[in-house]
Symmetry: C2
Subunit: 133 residues, 2 copies
């Protein structure tokens, strides 16, 4: 990775950390362009891929969007709880559950390498009726 690559990854991470709700790659691109107007989609996707691989960012597969890791580093897969009302995402870590999941998938000889665990629903604030629609 070059210095320029590092710079962009850092900028992307800063942008994602500004938000509690997921941003699409093009949302991030839009914000990046406020600083560096010439940036093109592949640059953003590369930065997001690198950050995701290093666990600094999580990709929400069911939203096609990204969020900064809230835990500041962990090796296990995250459980991402997505509020379908306000959009906030809560991250949980549960190594036992991931183990169990690997066990179930592995019953037929399947060898897991990556787990996608996302839960949709309503967060505590949106679900209580405190804030009726």
């Amino acid at each position: 990775m070059t210095r320029q690559g590092q710079r962009i990854q850092k900028e992307v991470l800063v942008i994602l950390r500004r938000h509690l709700i997921p941003r699409s790659a093009y949302d991030v691109l839009g914000e990046l362009r406020q600083i560096s107007p010439k940036i093109a989609p592949p640059t953003v996707y590369r930065a997001l891929a690198a950050l995701t691989q290093r666990g600094r960012v999580h990709r929400l597969e069911s939203l096609n969007a990204f969020i900064a890791c809230q835990c500041d580093q962990h090796q296990n897969a995250s459980i991402l709880s997505i509020c379908d009302d306000c959009g906030t995402v809560e991250e949980s870590v549960a190594p036992d559950l991931v183990e169990e999941l690997s066990g179930i998938a592995g019953q037929s000889g399947f060898a897991p390498t990556r787990h996608v665990i996302e839960v949709h629903g309503l967060c505590a604030s949106c679900g209580t009726g405190d804030i009726p629609a």
Copy 2:
């Protein structure tokens, strides 16, 4: 749903059942058009949404693709194990794990409504070294 809607849903299901590996919406559209050339994307997406809602088809969020339900009806969320080599998908049902997952997500008051559980890796055939790349 009208008769035409039923017809298309049935055709989509037949197409998906012809394949053991997931098909994108546009793959399905392409096959549908061999029968009914004038079909447009929204028609396919509507049929897939209806079939998914009824549990006849599963959407693979991490692939943006669809596969026919292999279990022939179940109410619980599926665990979908996706072979990154040959593309086959194996479906498992594990109500206990889904319960546990709901419990973890619910610790903060989150109320789950839908679970996305996908595991990437290598299936038994691809992982054993029997068929080296």
